[in-house]
């Protein structure tokens, strides 16, 4: 299997705090990779650096074998790396459907004149965006909520909408930052099904998650961060019994 995402030696400081120190992360094509670690370990920072939200101090970044410099989020998204946010960032005032339609932005190309005069080509494109957004809503199970304002959705549904919106950018790698946070047991089970479904449809997933059962259950590979450094990486079964991981994150009771 080839590596879809391969980053190495990533470092990032915030003032005097070394948030990331020579971190490496490999994501194989078609797999689900989990990124775990205690709070403040630097998981979200690594996400933010990889997706171009924060500039990295150092690091080598390869996406599908091609070097990229994560300087602009929009370019990273166009390249095929979409993400969700730990603290949900939906467009609250727009409807659920419109949120997903915004996701289609970078795969559509109507220009200003096309939009002003609503040219036939723009009209066709708009129709296809709408169709695509509706099918994505059906895909994540939100069809019934299309015309509701996003801010009025329940927490679990907001998480799903964020995933649908990210999928609308047609990513090859979907990076999810704690998608199960705040979900109840049933919602977590449904999320698990959704993630497996997405993977089976050929989209690679990178996952930050604190729910150990979910992570151990669906991930093919795990990378564990602590104090901005990788302390373990490998198959879930191996990581689970790694002494460093038990000490820093899982705790003795988990063995």
């Amino acid at each position: 299997m080839s590596l879809l995402l391969d980053v190495a030696d990533v470092s990032k400081c915030f003032g005097g705090v070394q948030a990331l120190q020579n971190v490496g992360l490999q994501v194989e094509c078609g797999s689900i990779v989990g990124l775990i670690g205690p709070n403040g370990a630097g998981k979200t920072t690594l996400f933010n650096v990889i997706t171009g939200l924060y500039p990295a101090d150092a690091g080598i970044f390869l996406f599908d074998g091609v070097a990229y410099s994560p300087e602009s989020m929009s370019k990273v998204t166009k390249a095929g790396l979409a993400r969700t946010f730990q603290n949900i960032r939906l467009f609250g005032g727009m409807t659920v459907l419109e949120n997903v339609m915004v996701g289609c932005h970078c795969r559509s190309k109507a220009g200003i004149l096309g939009a002003i005069f609503r040219l036939p080509s723009t009209r066709r494109e708009e129709q296809s965006i709408r169709t695509k957004a509706k099918s994505l809503l059906a895909y994540v199970g939100l069809s019934g909520f299309a015309n509701i304002q996003a801010r009025n959705l329940s927490y679990g549904h907001q998480r799903r909408l964020e995933i649908a919106r990210a999928l609308a950018t047609e990513p090859r790698l979907l990076a999810l930052d704690e998608p199960a946070a705040g979900m109840n047991a049933t919602e977590k089970l449904e999320l698990r099904e959704l993630l497996l479904h997405i993977r089976n449809d050929g989209i690679t997933i990178l996952l930050i998650e604190h729910d150990v059962n979910l992570v151990m259950g669906i991930c093919d590979q795990l990378t564990v961060l602590d104090y901005g450094q990788v302390i373990a990486a490998g198959k879930p079964a191996d990581v689970r019994v790694h002494p460093e991981v038990i000490r820093a994150y899982l705790g003795q009771g988990a063995v």
């Binding site: 602009s72 989020m73 929009s74 998204t77 467009f91 932005h105 200003i112 708009e126 304002q149 990210a166």
Partner: protein, 360 residues
Amino acid sequence: MLKRIPILRGCPYWLFGLLALLLLPWLVGASGGNYWVRVLDFALLYIVLALGLNVVVGFAGLLDLGYVAFYALGAYSYALLASPHLPHQFEALATAFPEGMHYSVLLVAVLAIFIAAVFGILLGLPTLALRGDYLAIVTLGFGEIIRILMNNLDRPLNLTNGPKGIASIDPIHFFGMNFAKPIDLGFISVPGLYLVFYLFLLLAIGVAIVCLHLQNSRIGRAWIAIREDEIAAKAMGINTRNMKLLAFAIGASFAGLAGVFFAAFQGFVSPESFTLWESIVVLAMVVLGGIGHIPGVILGAVLLAIFPEVLRSVAQPVQNFLFGHAVVDVEVIRQLIYGLALILVMLYRPGGIWQKRGDV
């Protein structure tokens, strides 16, 4: 109700609306005189202005307090290209244009749209990283710079004639039609003010349609996404820099367009028409009507353009009726009630008088 009348059965409602709008200047003119038709004409120009500002503030969420600068650019473009001012000042121009400079209002409108858009981008470029209050202060400064330039560009070269302003600007004229004179249709003579009303009505409807198209397009959604959450918008692959510049350019071009017709309609421009107060009035139209909601913005523009004039005309008679004489100066009480009305609307309808459904 009207549909009960047999002939009218099957007519869509908007046809009634259009008919009412076509009759409006005649009704207003007959009952209130030309003064009120002028007020209506200006209300239509304010609709164009407010819709333009709504693109910047309402859609993209960029607070712009210098919006009137683009209106000034449009107005001065026409004032310079269709008045005796420049040929008077410069010998070379006088010989080049022995008949005087009389560029068509349509030609200058296209030019002004372009000029204003370029200046919109020039204003946008240094302010890309700014948001909210900070952006408001920079745009406020920009608006003042343009006004002060107009005020002082009378020396060493007299370009704008300074505070005295430029007079004798050509009235609106194109395709052999002159909107300053009545047109005789054989059975009826349509006064110039009414013609201007129809022209501005066309302009306002056109701009409203463009705004609607933009709102329901990929670009409009990108603007609203930036307003709602800029980081998430970037994560959707939206080039926020270009989209913000585009919003500034489009908003500015509407103001430039309105400015050209303002100059042609007034026949006179001076820096006094383009003060910060004017920017704030247009912003108030957008916010009071329903920020980001096109019908609301139109309503806000109409109300705030007409309301002060209504107050002006009723303040005196009402006081005479109540007290037998004027207790408070008309101008003072007008400002007082105007301000009070703004406060009340914002207190009880913080989203605007006519906000989008679901935004409550």
